[in-house]
């Protein structure tokens, strides 16, 4: 396997949850390669473990066994604080419910991840303005999330995800809470990130239309990844 341009390499990944004495296997020996500049959609029935897999790749959850390499860094062996540091510079997050901080303006929300960097205030401003320009929200910098539409909030969230120029972007149902037009806007924006800025995106979605925008689709069911859906979606 040519690992040269694989930005993510997952090998034999397993994860189960414990509920009291019950063990609930969620991911079962999963292997997956994602190339740099790839736009991958993860689909599957509810409860199939899509969010779990995404969280593992993004370094906010711990696997039971297996290996995850992102840009050749084995992240399963990193400590909590090493992971935090790693996430700050390598992963951009886009959530279904945007997860912006309501008391901060759009500008301040986007600036948030940069506060952990060594950038000066002026450099931070430049980065934030650039990111907001990419998502076409330069005119809404001083608005708080509550003053923005769902689609606009998601664009702020995307700006926050790309402002640190991370290796990968993970998106968990980014259009799940949006109407059709806003959803299309967001998908176009994500496609643009991949095509124009060569970003790598892993997107969990239920929406076939969203999945169509992606270059590849993988289906997760009963703990196993497939190239094809096991049932008709």
């Amino acid at each position: 396997m040519n690992s040269e341009n694989n930005i993510v390499e997952i090998r034999n990944l397993s994860k189960s949850y414990h509920r009291g004495s019950l063990i609930l296997p969620v991911l079962n020996n999963i292997s997956l390669d994602i190339k740099e500049g790839e736009f991958l959609a993860l689909m599957g029935p509810s409860g199939s473990g899509k969010t779990t897999l995404l969280n593992l790749i993004a370094g906010i959850d711990k696997a039971d066994s297996g290996s995850i390499k992102v840009k050749s860094v084995e992240i399963t062996t990193l400590s909590e604080s090493e992971l935090a540091e790693w996430r700050a510079s390598n992963v951009g997050f886009i959530f279904q419910f945007y997860n912006l901080i309501p008391v901060l303006t759009a500008f301040e929300n986007v600036e948030l991840p940069l506060l952990l960097s060594k950038l000066s205030k002026k450099e931070r401003r430049e980065h934030v303005e650039m990111a907001l320009k990419v998502v076409n929200l330069s005119d809404r910098m001083d608005h708080r999330p509550g003053q923005l539409s769902g689609g606009q909030q998601q664009r702020v969230a995307i700006a926050r995800a790309i402002v640190t120029d991370p290796a990968i972007l993970v998106a968990d149902e980014p259009t799940g809470d949006l109407d059709r037009t806003s959803a299309e806007d967001i998908l176009n924006l994500m496609e643009q990130l991949v095509v124009e800025l060569n970003k790598t995106i892993i997107m969990v979605t239920h929406d076939p239309r969203a999945a169509k925008k992606a270059h590849h689709i993988k289906f997760l069911d009963k703990g196993i990844l497939n190239a094809r859906p096991q049932i008709d979606l």
Binding site: A84, R87, F95, L116
Partner: protein, 385 residues
């Protein structure tokens, strides 16, 4: 700067809740401050007492007198610089509720031993030259509108009859720890009257006030005095003025302890109130904290936000409470001046206010911060939606 802004804005997200909590802290700190001031007012006499003064009284009880003849004997004891004496008069001015301390003193030496009573020289001379003269503290004179030359009548309780005095002098305290509500007159006048109406009670004093040459030898001098009168008809008990005052207070110690206890209970209650506010706040924001952690912020940052908010709310209330303590204490002081002649807010009380605020803020933030640090990010994120 970003963090402070965030803490500030977070605090104002639930304005009513924050305002009510701040108000609670304000009231708690105000009550705490006033209660602590009542306690220090209680001990004011002790604090103001001098290390070079000894009080000699009847060993049996303060209510039994000592013979006047002891004066010369005490004066000759090694280490004694000066001796004076006095008797509690316990007179009532017009009505019983007008309570103030009044006693008869051998004034000449007493005023020397008490340099903290400041009397203008001409008034002092006028007082010393008139056997029916009396002196009042400035606060007391102000309260009843007395002026120099006024005739003041006290109804005797321990000593029967109506007693008339001419106010010849008004004293001020050297500093604000000195009681300015006392009233005193010549012991000789009291004794002269006693000789006429109750000769068996003449030539008796309530206590001797002894000034020692060297404060470091006060204890030894006290022992010498008591030994001199051992096995006599009236044995003595000599203590430093401080111990003497403490002895007075020990009679009311239970009340002081109760007040102390209540002052800490107030802080405990407000701790529970702020902790409840912080628990609600942190519970609502657990998803946000998970987002912060997702972005790479650590437990240090997240708990900083929680403690910062707890600190902001508590310290705002603490500062307001301290600011309100001053006018409140002023009202207290003027309303209760006869019970608490010295009612001033000690610096220690303010330090304790601030310390109480800090402890409340820390305790209130502890559990929410612990939870926010320990919750797994994936679990925290699932709470959103």
């Amino acid at each position: 700067m970003h963090v402070l802004k965030l803490i500030f804005r977070n605090s104002l997200r639930h304005k009513l809740r924050t305002i009510l909590t701040v108000l609670g802290v304000t009231i708690a700190i105000l009550s705490f401050g006033l209660l602590r001031t009542v306690i220090s007012a209680w001990y004011a006499g002790v604090e103001a007492s001098s290390a070079s003064r000894l009080v000699t009284r009847n060993a049996v009880s303060l209510v039994f007198p000592l013979p006047l003849s002891y004066k010369e004997k005490i004066r000759q004891i090694e280490g004694v610089k000066s001796v004076s004496y006095g008797s509690w008069f316990g007179g009532i001015y017009i009505d019983e509720k007008n309570f103030f301390a009044n006693y008869a003193l051998e004034a000449e030496h007493y005023l020397d031993i008490y340099p903290e009573f400041i009397i203008p020289p001409e008034q002092k001379a006028a007082f010393l030259h008139d056997r029916k003269a009396a002196v009042a503290g400035k606060k007391l004179a102000d309260k009843y509108g007395w002026k120099i030359g006024d005739i003041i009548t006290l109804r005797g309780t321990i000593y029967p009859g109506n007693w008339e005095f001419v106010l010849k002098a008004i004293y001020k305290g050297r500093d604000n720890t000195v009681d300015e509500t006392a009233f005193f007159f010549h012991w000789a006048y009291l004794n002269e009257m006693m000789k006429k109406i109750a000769p068996q009670r003449a030539d008796q004093v309530g206590w001797y006030m002894v000034e020692v040459k060297n404060p470091e030898q006060a204890a030894e001098v006290a022992v010498r005095i008591d030994q001199t009168f051992k096995n006599s008809l009236a044995e003595t008990l000599t203590e430093t003025e401080k111990a003497f005052q403490l002895g007075f207070i020990s009679m009311t110690e239970a009340i002081v302890i109760a007040i102390k206890l209540v002052s800490f209970v107030v802080i405990l209650i407000i701790m529970a109130v702020v902790a409840n506010t912080m628990a609600m706040t942190a519970r609502e924001r657990i998803g946000e904290y998970a987002v912060f952690k997702t972005l790479g912020f650590g437990g240090f940052h997240v708990s900083g936000l929680i403690f910062g908010e707890s600190m902001f709310i508590t310290m705002t209330g603490t500062v307001l409470g301290i600011l309100l303590t001053f006018p409140a204490a002023k009202i207290f002081a003027s309303e209760l001046s006869t019970y608490f002649p010295i009612f001033i807010i000690e610096p220690e009380t303010l330090y304790m206010d601030v310390a109480a605020g800090l402890v409340v803020a820390l305790m209130a933030g502890l559990f929410p911060a612990w939870r926010a640090i320990n919750i797994r990010i994936a679990d925290g994120l699932r709470r959103i939606g």
